[in-house]
């Protein structure tokens, strides 16, 4: 299976209109997922350039406000990566993340941001291949969903 295949196939085949590029923000914890992303890089495991990574010390540092901000600014997807439950560098951080994000994502869906646009994935520092696969899958999903609603317009009805 070619990971790269995903990258090139989609736009060429059926995207005659002005090319839309999804904007995707990835929050990665410093100890596991950011290192996993580094490993994906050093293993040359490609994933689309639409993904931009922000480094945080722990997934539990991610304030729901950051995610809302991204969507307000027009992000099409936000993904949060942390150490696997039980492996948190700070012992318990990702357990809190798990609760916060489950509730936040459910709320985002409730205001009309489809569930597929938000995701939490647990990626360890050793899982470079997984990091790449996760990102490819996520981008594919976002492409499938298309452009996001303008969350920024939530209070600007014509």
């Amino acid at each position: 299976m070619s990971v790269n295949g995903n990258l090139t196939a989609a736009p060429a085949a059926n995207a005659p209109a002005a090319e839309w590029k999804p904007r995707i923000v990835a929050f990665c914890c410093n100890w596991c997922s950011y290192a996993g992303a580094d490993l994906a890089g050093s293993s040359r495991l490609a994933y689309p350039a639409d993904v931009k990574i922000i480094r945080v010390p722990c997934s539990c540092r991610v304030n729901p406000m950051f995610i809302l901000k991204a969507f307000e600014r027009g992000a099409d997807g936000v993904i949060l990566c942390g150490c696997h439950p039980g492996d948190c560098h700070y012992s318990t951080g990702n357990y809190y993340t798990r609760r916060r994000m489950a509730l936040l994502f459910s709320m985002l869906d409730y205001i009309g941001v489809e569930r597929g646009r938000t995701r939490v994935e647990w990626v360890s520092a050793a899982e470079g291949a997984r990091f790449s696969k996760v990102m490819n899958d996520f981008v594919a999903k976002i492409r499938e969903l298309g452009e996001n609603v303008k969350v920024g317009d939530l209070r600007c009805k014509e």
Binding site: R44, I54, R61, M65, A70, H89, S91, Y96
Partner: protein
């Protein structure tokens, strides 16, 4: 005004092949606040670092962004360079355009575009950076070990050998712990006392070790490097420095009906007693609940016979206050109460015993002088049934959900020793699984089955009851799929072990976290197994989880080396990227305190001057020496009073903004 410098690395062709570095530089130059931008082949090289240093000086830079490899690789390098040039090292941010960009993209246009976004995000962040300074705190060069079993003794000996003073606080009248009660040890079958007592003596003799026995830690405050502990030394009613341990008082004491704890209550002891012959310190203690003199004022016999004049009925509890740089928990374990499983008739039949009781029965210094005799009538047993997993792996609510780890091996040991010494005794062992990972462990168990003809039956026992002075054991043999009824003279229960009940109290005092089974949680289950998440607290022995003697000793040594590493430092440098609470904004709600894994947040009532209005408020304070900077607290703070230095709300929001431009 911000004066940011942006430095774009080619990393040879690693970056430059997929990222148009010149375009990144050009793009950087038009970012607000950026006054200088340059690319270079290898920024991490000395020449590259010099470019950064020169630019900092020449352009009076207030912030630096290096677009290069992962910060996990060279962040420290560039921070150091900046600091050498006079810039605060925390004013440096890295844009990872190699691992996260050039290495994963093939299309140069795409790669360049992304590199520009990452650069923009780093610039946006660095404009909000503030200079941070790593703090320092003192290290008191003394350690406290709570618990004087083999774990505590070994840890203390190792710390003391490295030249640091260490106190052992033991709640019982002697050190030695559970290991002192054991007869032989697996898998070598050497005598437990023979290997333990020399260590006890060594602990007593070591001038760096102070033994505080018959004592409990009452209060602990402070943090890593400088804890303060208050220790209650319970009254022994015997002057410790005067008593010679001759034991005359014990023989003369008229109150002899106390249960002998050391022998698991299988026989009695006098009210004044020395727990066992090799006790350290070898000093008597009076059980005040049992002593006639202390209860009624009459008697005083021990005082009369004590030629050393060591008895003091007026002795009071004493308090010792001491400062420590590190604390080791070595609080150990106890077997669970077997009467919770009375289908095995432990409460009603004397000949149903726990393994630790059997250990005493087998021991030469035990109640039967080491001769295997039935507790009910003192007769020689002809058949013994061992039942494993009594209360272990039990989620019914009666027992413990975990495997107690040591029972398979000690049961094999007991079975083997009995078969060896008394070949006429039939031995059956009911087991669910025999778990013997460990060096020479499985060989040991197989020897019991093959050489010593111990009858291992895969299955459990459902009921034990007494009939005609014998025990009827109804069990199942799952391999032959039949229910079997055996007559036995004794039944031995391999009861689960649980953390000593003092562990919970001590852990609370130390703000060390504890799991649902009351075992102390380690900072990281794989990478930091002997440290508590609370800095300066270390774990030794079974208080962290079930383990046997070799494992305990190696963990004790590991804990000691961690303590030594800490005490060897004169000062502790603290990570400056820690949480900080704005007192004016703090509601005092305690949410942050509850999610902090390190106990780094405390609440105090303080006089706050809120724009001229002075009032007493309950506000959070972060102890920077304890905080590790995870940021969990920042998210639960609804008012935004809690923020994380180096990863502040504003900084991360600025990055999001820059990426979603």
């Amino acid at each position: 005004m911000h004066r940011i410098g942006v430095f774009v690395c080619w990393c040879g062709s690693n970056i430059a092949a997929t990222v148009d570095v010149e375009r990144v530089v050009a793009e950087a130059k038009v970012q607000p606040g950026v006054v200088f931008a340059q690319d270079y082949q290898y920024m991490c090289s000395e020449a590259g670092q010099n470019i950064i240093k020169d630019a900092i000086r020449t352009h009076a830079l207030t912030g630096v962004v290096v677009c290069s490899c992962s910060p996990r690789m060279h962040e420290a390098t560039f921070r150091k360079a900046a600091s050498l040039a006079g810039l605060n090292p925390y004013m440096v941010e890295i844009a990872n355009i190699r691992e996260h960009c050039s290495w994963i993209h093939k299309d140069k246009e795409e790669g360049t575009e992304k590199a520009c976004v990452l650069m923009r995000a780093a610039v946006a962040k660095v404009t909000l950076n503030v200079p941070l300074k790593a703090g320092e705190s003192k290290v008191v060069k003394r350690a406290l070990v709570i618990g004087g079993g083999i774990a505590g003794i070994q840890t203390a000996l190792d710390i003391a050998d490295a030249g640091f003073p260490v106190d052992i606080v033991e709640k019982n009248a002697t050190i030695g712990g559970r290991m002192a009660q054991l007869d032989k040890t697996f898998p070598t079958l050497d005598c437990s006392s023979c290997i333990l007592t020399p260590k006890m003596v060594e602990a007593k003799a070591n001038e760096n070790i102070r033994l505080i026995t018959y004592a409990e830690v009452e209060e602990v405050s402070g943090f890593v490097g400088s804890f303060k502990a208050k220790i209650r030394k319970k009254a022994r009613f015997v002057k410790e420095d005067v008593c010679t341990g001759c034991g005359v008082c014990m023989s003369k004491c008229p109150s002899k009906k106390g249960l002998n704890e050391f022998n698991m209550g299988l026989n009695n002891r006098s009210a004044i007693y020395i727990p066992f012959a090799q006790a350290i310190p070898n000093v008597a203690v009076i059980d005040k609940e049992q002593c006639i003199k202390l209860k009624t004022g009459k008697c005083g016999l021990c005082e009369k016979v004590c030629t050393a004049g060591a008895i003091d009925y007026t002795q009071q509890d004493e308090f010792i206050e001491e400062e420590y740089g590190a604390i080791v928990m070595a609080t150990g374990f106890r077997p669970i109460d077997a009467s919770k499983f009375d289908e095995y008739s432990y409460s009603t039949c004397k000949d149903v015993v726990t393994s630790l009781e059997l250990e005493r029965i087998m021991n030469a210094a035990g109640p039967t002088g080491g001769v295997l005799l039935r507790p009910s009538d003192g007769k020689h047993p002809h058949s013994i049934v061992f039942i494993q997993c009594v209360g272990s792996r039990d989620v019914s609510g009666r027992g413990k959900p975990y495997c107690s780890k040591i029972c398979c091996m000690y049961t094999a040991k007991h079975a083997m020793l009995i078969r060896d010494k008394y070949p006429d005794v039939e031995v059956h062992v009911f087991y669910i699984d025999v778990r013997t990972p460990g060096k020479n462990f499985d060989e040991f168990y197989r020897r019991a089955a093959e050489q010593y003809d111990v009858d291992y039956i895969k299955g459990q026992v459902g009921k034990v009851y007494e009939e005609n002075g014998q025990l009827v054991v109804r069990g199942v043999d799952l391999i032959s799929n039949e229910q079997i009824v055996l007559n036995a003279d004794m039944v031995v229960l391999a009861t689960a072990i649980e953390p000593d009940p003092t562990a919970r109290k001590v852990a609370n005092m130390l703000t060390a976290s504890i799991d649902t089974n009351d075992f102390i949680t380690e900072a990281h289950p794989k990478l930091r197994p002997v440290e508590s998440p609370t800095a300066g607290i270390f774990l030794s022995g079974v208080c962290q989880g079930p383990k046997d003697i070799p494992e305990t000793v190696s963990q004790a040594g590991a804990a000691a080396s961690k303590v030594i590493g800490l005490l060897a430092k004169d000062k502790l440098t603290t990570n400056p990227c820690v949480a900080h609470s704005d007192e004016l904004l703090c509601n005092g709600c305690s949410c942050c305190e509850k999610v902090c894994p390190y106990g780094a947040i405390s609440y105090d009532t303080k006089l706050i001057n809120d724009h001229g209005v002075k009032e007493n408020r309950r506000v959070a304070t972060v102890n920077e020496a304890l905080c590790q900077g995870c940021g969990a607290c920042t998210v639960v703070c609804p008012s935004g009073a809690m923020d994380l230095k180096g990863f502040s709300n504003k900084q991360i929001m600025a990055e999001v903004d820059a990426i979603c431009l």
